[in-house]
């Protein structure tokens, strides 16, 4: 782990643990002999915070120079893939499976990967047909098929 990763992961564990303590505040803690539902979550949350503090301390002691592991986020694929998945969820009940799949496949054009429009169009149609045959006909999953 690079120093920046240690800082960020330390921060993540502290925040996550903190949230778990907060969210578990109204759960009964109980005693060891008679545990409430809040007992284990509280122990784990405190553990998370502890881990976070340790990582922070490590980051503080680590040499900041020559750090190759800079944390960079690839926003384009992150957003595209997330939108594609959420799009699937939104479109499926409205458009049905084949059309949703076709739209999703076509959206790959935005990925920045090399592609060819004719090929992509063919694959979009092919995937639509395949998904219909595989999931709906062969596996008999109860999935909306058409927009009407």
């Amino acid at each position: 782990m690079g120093q920046q990763q240690q800082y960020l992961s330390g921060l993540f564990f502290i925040v996550f643990g903190g949230l778990a303590v907060w969210a578990g505040n109204d759960l009964t803690i109980g005693t060891a002999a008679d545990m409430g539902i809040g007992y284990t979550p509280r122990a784990l949350a405190i553990g998370c915070i502890g881990v976070g503090c340790l990582l922070m301390a490590q980051a503080y002691r680590a040499a900041p120079a020559g750090d190759g592991n800079r944390v960079e986020i690839a926003w384009r694929p992150l957003l595209l893939v997330t939108i594609m998945v959420i799009g699937f969820g939104l479109l499926l009940p409205r458009l049905g499976l084949p059309l949703t799949v076709a739209v999703m496949t076509a959206a790959a054009a935005l990925s920045g990967e090399n592609f060819n429009w004719t090929m992509l169009a063919l694959i979009a149609v092919g995937m639509a047909v395949l998904s219909l045959l595989l999931f709906s006909t062969a596996l008999n999953l109860q999935i909306p098929v058409w927009p009407f």
Binding site: F12, A32, V81, V85, L90, S111, I143
Partner: protein, 501 residues
């Protein structure tokens, strides 16, 4: 003698036409998806889970096991052909396998990998058949304190044997356990961390978590990773190894198999550790260690045997104790639960035909893989040439349909998107999501046993140390942690995993 009648029962189940077909289909689909770059066995199983939903339990389990070793196998093919390990346990195979391919010996490397895996698979199947019933008999002596201690030991061992920062991995286990506790508590019926969201009253679905953290976030990572893939060059001509090759590969295969069978049973063990251990063993035993990394056939045979034996041996604790030794087995437990089967000490005695059928089908599956893979190598090579722009939407469709079809609701699809983003951020900050998945499955189990233990002892924590079995397990855990605190051992652990980069 018991063993033989059990195996006979297994054969009678596994050799029915229907089950042979499921075994074949699983191995084929598993290889197909496993060959695709950047998709490990975990994501493969998660993706293909929905196609098993509508089968009866035996068929479903046979197919899932087939998918698992198919995926494992597909990973080695890409490692050898394009130096792109489909999953972490074939990283080692890529070291010498790819060099062999560059020297025009790709076919021999693939055949060696296939035959070594097959041999290891045969041995491991027998090991499971012998060890699993013994272990489950032993488990009948276990009470809540022993189970708690065993699971805690398993979690720590998993962390130590995984690559990456130990502290961060311990953190990931705890995050996973917390996420696993979301929903209605079994003992009291009260709800935890649901924030009024009706859909998670029964807890977060494991498949959603696994698919988000491994399927979706791996796709994001692959798209972000823009280094160009090397395409396999040249035709694969010769498949059969020469006598000289066999003489070098055979002892390595046997050693790898033994190593894998032992390491696979240990908590946290499995394919990854076994293949690393076997590679370093072969390198140490070789007369001329400098050949390694330059196409030494032992460097393919040993680790391939070890990772296959390790992968199969990790079924032992999962089936016999109901405790998953690694993330893949955690997913297998989740899959079995969907079919209404709870693995554990009672599984063997209650459903012998299911258990033995599955074991025998593993052996058959390994044979199918050899038959399937060598002639079909050409097709796998073509698959590797498909541009990612066409591939990733298809994979995403599979993930989405898979998650949707668990409960037929779009909520799960949205939740998977969330876990995908979460998983991507975790990877970026250097936290591997595998320990989280393990914690997620074990969290509720640990809590239940822990609660019972302290109820039993009236809140006295020394019960873990006064019962001999649990004390021994706690002792092992403590020793593991102490070992990690020693600087010299920490260094050799770091070195062992360095070959990955």
């Amino acid at each position: 003698m018991d063993l033989f009648s059990n195996l006979a029962l297994g054969f009678s189940v596994a050799l029915t036409l229907k089950n042979l077909f499921y075994c074949f289909a699983g191995a084929l689909f598993g290889t197909l998806i496993g060959v695709l770059p950047g998709i490990g066995p975990l994501a493969t199983i998660a993706m293909l889970l929905p196609i098993t939903f509508h089968l009866e339990p035996t068929g479903a389990l046979i197919m899932l096991a087939g998918i698992f070793y198919g995926a494992q196998y597909g990973g080695s093919t890409t490692a050898i052909l394009v130096n792109l390990p489909g999953e972490s346990s074939s990283v080692v195979t890529a070291l010498d396998g790819y060099q062999m391919a560059r020297q025009g010996r790709a076919g021999i490397a693939l055949a060696t990998a296939a035959l070594a895996s097959f041999f290891a698979g045969c041995v491991a199947t027998i090991v499971i058949a012998v060890a699993a019933p013994a272990l489950s008999r032993m488990a009948l002596l276990f009470g809540p304190p022993e189970f708690t201690a065993l699971m805690v030991m398993g979690l720590f061992a998993a962390v130590v044997l995984a690559s990456g920062s130990i502290i961060a991995s311990i953190g990931m286990v705890m995050v996973g356990m917390l996420l696993g506790l979301v929903g209605t508590d079994v003992t009291t019926g009260e709800q935890r961390f649901v924030f009024g969201v009706r859909q998670i009253y029964d807890g977060i679905d494991f498949v959603v978590v696994a698919m988000g953290l491994f399927g979706v976030s791996e796709i994001i990572a692959n798209l972000a990773d823009r280094h160009t893939r090397e395409l396999p060059s040249g035709k694969i001509t010769r498949l059969m190894p020469t006598k000289e090759d066999i003489k070098q590969a055979a002892p390595a295969t046997i050693r790898g198999t033994l190593l894998g069978s032992i390491l696979g049973v240990l908590p946290g063990g499995g394919a990854l550790v076994s293949s690393f251990a076997s590679y370093s063993l072969e390198k140490r035993l070789a007369k001329d260690p400098s050949r390694f990394g330059k196409g030494a056939i032992e460097g393919v045979a040993g680790p391939e045997a070890a990772n296959n034996a390790g992968a199969q041996a990790s079924f032992i604790p999962m089936l016999a104790l109901g405790i998953p030794p690694n993330a893949v087995m955690a997913l297998m437990i989740a899959a079995m639960t969907i079919h209404g089967i709870t693995p554990g000490p009672k599984f063997l005695t209650d459903q012998p035909s299911l258990f033995w059928g599955m074991i025998v089908s593993m052996w058959i599956g390994n044979m199918i893989l050899v038959v399937l893979n060598l002639p079909l190598v050409g097709i796998w090579v073509k698959l590797l040439k498909i541009p990612y722009a066409y591939l990733f939407p298809a994979i995403l469709v599979f993930c989405c349909v898979g998650v949707y079809s668990i409960n037929y609701r779009v909520f799960d699809v949205f939740l998977m998107a969330g876990f995908g983003v979460f998983g991507y951020f975790l990877r970026r900050i250097g936290c591997e999501p595998a320990p989280l998945v393990l914690g997620f499955i074990l969290g509720p189990m640990v809590e239940e046993q822990f609660r019972r233990t302290l109820l039993l002892s009236d809140g006295d924590f020394t019960i873990f140390l006064t019962r001999p079995l649990s004390a021994a397990l706690i002792g092992v855990t403590a020793a593991l942690l102490l070992m990690m605190a020693l600087p010299s051992l920490r260094k050799s652990r770091e070195e062992a995993f360095r070959e990955q980069d």
